[in-house]
C-alpha cells in the first residue's frame, strides 16, 4: 500500500466523508450532552484528518490503542455509529455494559484495544501487546495515539524505552493539538515532541496533522519503518483543538490570547477546498455529504435512545471471572436486589 502519490479519488472522497461524519457526530453529541441525553464528551473537532490518515494506512490486523479523542479514526476503520452511541448512552447494547464514561471505547472486533481516562496509561500496554504479537508470530503492528500532554507522563517514558529495548513494532502517534486542557504545549515541554524519541534511540517525524496529504506521506514513512521490523517510531501530528477540552471545559478562561479561531487550520475545510479545487467534488457534493451525515447520525441516535438501559445488577459482574463472596454478598444486600 503506497497511498500517497497515488491516492485515488475514491479514497480521498471516503476520507472526506468520514471526516464530515465525525465532525457531524461530534456536534450531535455536544448538543445531546447539553440536553442531558449523553453525559459527557471530548470532541475531536480539528483532529480528524490525522486520525483518518491512520485509519487509511493501518491494516486490518494492525492493533490500535486509541485515546479518548479519536472519533474519526473509529469511523474510518468502519465502526458503526450505532455502536458508538451505545457506548455513549451506556445502554444495554453497550459492549462494555455501561461501565465507562462516554468516549472510552473498546471496539475489539475492529482490532482496537481499550480506552482509559488516566492520560498515557495505555502506552506501556501497547509495548506488551506488540511483544505478544511478535511472540505469537501474529501479523501486524501496534499503533497508538495520545495527546501532547501525555508525552509528559511516566507511562510515555516507560513505553518508549521498553519498545526500543525490545525493538518492538509500535508506531507512536502524538496528536499535538496545542493544549492539555488549559496548558499550552509550550508549557508542557521545551523540546519538539517528535524529537523525544532521541532519548530512546527512536526516530521521529513531524507531520501537518491538519492536512491529509502531509499526514499520509509522513505516516507512510513511519508505517514502512515499523512494518519492516526496524523498531518503534514516533510521529508528531500538529493539529488544532477547535473546541473545548471537553463538555465540562470553558476555554474562554484560558484561550484569551489566541489570535485565531482555528478555522484556517480546520482540516476538513482544507481537504474540502483541495477536492473542490481539483474538481474531485463540487459544492453539491459537499451539501449532500453533510446532509447525509446529519441524517444518518440523527436517525441513529434516535434509534439507539430507544434501547433499554443496562441492567443495574451487572454492576457487580466482571470484577473477576468468578465473583468472590464479597461481590455476591454486596449484590444481595444492594438496592438492586429488591
Amino acid at each position: 500500500m503506497t497511498l500517497v502519490g497515488n491516492l485515488s479519488d475514491d479514497q480521498a472522497i471516503l476520507a472526506y466523508k468520514n471526516a464530515v461524519r465525525a465532525r457531524t457526530l461530534d456536534l450531535k453529541i455536544i448538543s445531546a450532552q447539553r440536553q442531558g441525553i449523553i453525559g459527557f464528551h471530548v470532541p475531536s473537532e480539528g483532529q480528524e484528518m490525522i486520525q483518518i490518515a491512520i485509519g487509511m494506512l493501518a491494516d486490518k490486523e494492525d492493533l490500535i490503542f486509541t485515546y479518548y479523542r479519536d472519533l474519526a479514526l473509529y469511523l474510518q476503520r468502519g465502526v458503526p455509529i450505532s455502536l458508538i452511541f451505545d457506548q455513549m448512552l451506556g445502554n444495554s447494547n453497550d459492549l462494555q455494559k455501561g461501565r465507562q464514561m462516554p468516549d472510552h471505547f473498546s471496539f475489539k472486533e475492529f482490532n482496537f484495544s481499550t480506552v482509559q481516562s488516566p492520560v498515557g496509561a495505555h502506552l506501556p500496554l501497547t509495548v506488551g501487546a506488540a511483544y505478544a504479537m511478535r511472540y505469537n508470530k501474529r501479523k501486524g503492528i501496534v499503533i497508538t495515539t495520545f495527546g501532547d500532554g501525555a508525552t509528559s507522563t511516566s507511562d510515555f517514558h516507560a513505553a518508549l524505552n521498553m519498545a526500543s529495548v525490545y525493538n518492538l513494532s509500535v508506531l507512536f502517534v502524538c496528536e499535538n493539538n496545542g493544549w492539555a486542557i488549559s496548558i499550552p504545549t509550550s508549557k508542557q515541554t521545551r523540546a519538539d515532541i517528535y524529537k523525544k524519541g532521541a532519548a530512546y534511540g527512536i526516530p521521529g517525524k513531524r507531520v501537518d496533522g491538519n492536512d491529509l496529504i502531509s499526514s499520509l506521506a509522513g505516516l507512510q514513512e513511519a508505517f514502512d519503518y515499523v512494518r519492516s521490523g526496524k523498531g518503534p517510531y514516533l510521529v508528531e501530528a500538529s493539529t488544532y483543538r477547535i473546541g473545548p477540552h471537553s463538555t465540562s471545559d470553558d476555554p474562554k478562561k484560558y484561550r484569551v490570547d489566541e489570535i485565531t479561531d482555528g478555522s484556517e487550520k480546520d482540516p476538513i475545510r482544507r481537504l474540502e477546498n483541495l477536492l473542490l479545487t481539483m474538481g474531485v467534488i463540487d459544492s453539491g457534493f459537499v451539501q449532500s455529504t453533510r446532509a447525509q451525515a446529519k441524517e444518518e447520525i440523527d436517525k441513529t441516535l434516535e434509534e439507539r435512545m430507544s434501547i433499554t438501559p443496562s441492567n443495574p445488577s451487572t454492576i457487580f459482574d466482571d470484577v473477576y471471572e468468578n465473583s468472590s463472596w464479597i461481590q455476591e454478598e454486596e449484590r444481595r444486600d444492594s438496592n438492586v436486589a429488591d
Binding site: 461501565r99 465507562q100 481516562s117 500532554g149 511516566s154 488549559s182 515541554t189 443495574p312
Partner: protein, 321 residues
C-alpha cells in the same frame, strides 16, 4: 461572615494564606489560568503571579516530587492533583519520600506539603473520576489525612493543614463542592486536625461517617426521625479515637458509612478500634454501609453510592438487634 460554598471557602483560605505567607506556592495541572478544573484556585494566578501559582506539565509524580523538594527547602507548597484517581502515578513519591522523609532523616528534613485532591462519586465520572482512595493514605504512617464535609470545616482544615509541619493529604468531596452555601467567617480560623465533630447527639445508635457521606447521613437521620448520634470524623489519620469510642459506648450500636469500598475501607479501622476498646458495650453487630468492592461504574452510580435506603436499612437492623 459570608455565604459561601466549599469551593469558595477553599479558595478564600488559600488566597488569604498566600497573602500572609510568601512561602506558599500553589501548583498542579490547570491551577493557574484555568483556576483549576473545579475553580478552587481561581484568580490566584492574577493575584500572585506565575512564580507562586504554577501550571505544571501532565505528570503527577513530577508535581509531588517537585513539591517535596520545595517543601524540604523552605517553601510551603499546596499541590493539587486534579482528581484523586490520578494520584497513583505519584504514589511512590507519597509513600516512599513524602511520608518517610522526617523519619528516615531523623527529623533533619521535613515535608510541610498540602496535597489537595477532589475525590468521590456522584458526578457521573465513571471509574476514573469517582474513586474514594482514602484507605491508601490512611494506612501510610507519616501522612495526615483530612476531609471536610462542609464549607466551614473545609476552610478551617485547610488552614490547619498549612500550619502543620508535616505532609497532609487534603481530600475534597467533589460532590459537595457546590452543594450548599453556609455562613463562614471572613477571617482565617482553624479546625483542629485529629478532632471529630459531633453533628448530632443521640441515644439509640451511633453513626460514624465523614466527607461526602455526611449530608446523606444527616438527611436520612432527620427525615426518619432516628435518635442517632452522628459523628463526622473530619480527620481520617489520626482518627479521633476518643470520639469514636465514646459514642460507641454510649449507644452500643454502631453504623459506619462511607463511599469507599468496604474491604479495608476506613470503616474497617473504625470497627476494629471499637472491637478492641468497647466490646463490652456493644449491643449489636457493627455494620458498615459503604461503596461496593467493585470499580466505580459509570452507569448506575446511584446504586453504588450509599443512600438513605441503605443507611436506614442498616440503622434499623442494628436497632432491631
Amino acid at each position: 461572615m459570608s455565604q459561601i460554598n466549599l469551593v469558595q471557602s477553599l479558595n478564600r483560605s488559600i488566597d488569604q494564606l498566600m497573602a500572609q505567607d510568601e512561602r506558599i506556592v500553589v501548583m498542579g495541572e490547570d491551577v493557574g489560568r484555568d483556576g483549576g478544573v473545579f475553580r478552587v484556585t481561581d484568580n490566584l494566578l492574577n493575584k500572585y503571579g506565575d512564580e507562586r501559582v504554577i501550571d505544571t506539565p501532565l505528570n503527577e509524580l513530577a508535581i509531588i516530587g517537585m513539591a517535596t523538594g520545595m517543601a524540604m527547602y523552605g517553601l510551603k507548597p499546596i499541590a493539587e492533583i486534579q482528581f484523586q484517581d490520578y494520584i497513583f502515578p505519584a504514589f511512590d513519591q507519597i509513600v516512599n519520600n513524602v511520608a518517610k522523609m522526617r523519619y528516615r532523616t531523623g527529623g533533619r528534613f521535613t515535608v510541610p506539603l498540602v496535597i489537595r485532591t477532589p475525590y468521590g462519586g456522584g458526578v457521573k465520572g465513571g471509574l476514573y473520576h469517582s474513586q474514594s482512595g482514602e484507605s491508601y493514605f490512611v494506612h501510610t504512617a507519616g501522612l495526615t489525612v483530612v476531609t471536610p464535609s462542609n464549607p466551614y470545616d473545609a476552610r478551617g482544615l485547610l488552614v490547619s493543614a498549612y500550619k502543620k509541619n508535616d505532609p497532609v493529604i487534603f481530600l475534597e468531596p467533589k460532590r459537595l463542592y457546590r452543594a450548599v452555601k453556609t455562613e463562614v467567617p471572613d477571617e482565617l480560623f482553624e479546625v483542629e486536625i485529629g478532632k471529630a465533630a459531633r453533628l448530632k447527639e443521640g441515644d439509640d445508635v451511633s453513626i460514624i461517617t465523614y466527607g461526602s457521606m455526611v449530608p446523606t447521613v444527616m438527611n436520612a437521620v432527620e427525615k426518619n426521625g432516628v435518635n442517632a448520634e452522628v459523628t463526622d470524623l473530619r480527620t481520617l489519620l489520626p482518627m479521633d479515637v476518643s470520639a469514636i469510642i465514646q459514642t460507641a459506648k454510649k449507644t452500643g450500636r454502631v453504623v459506619i458509612v462511607h463511599e469507599a469500598p468496604k474491604t479495608l475501607g476506613v470503616g474497617a479501622e473504625i470497627s476494629a478500634l471499637i472491637a478492641e476498646r468497647a466490646i463490652d458495650s456493644l449491643l449489636a453487630p457493627i455494620v458498615r454501609v459503604t461503596g461496593y468492592d467493585t470499580p466505580f461504574p459509570y452507569s448506575h452510580e446511584e446504586l453504588y453510592l450509599p443512600d438513605e435506603k441503605r443507611i436506614m436499612s442498616a440503622v434499623n437492623r442494628v436497632l432491631a438487634y
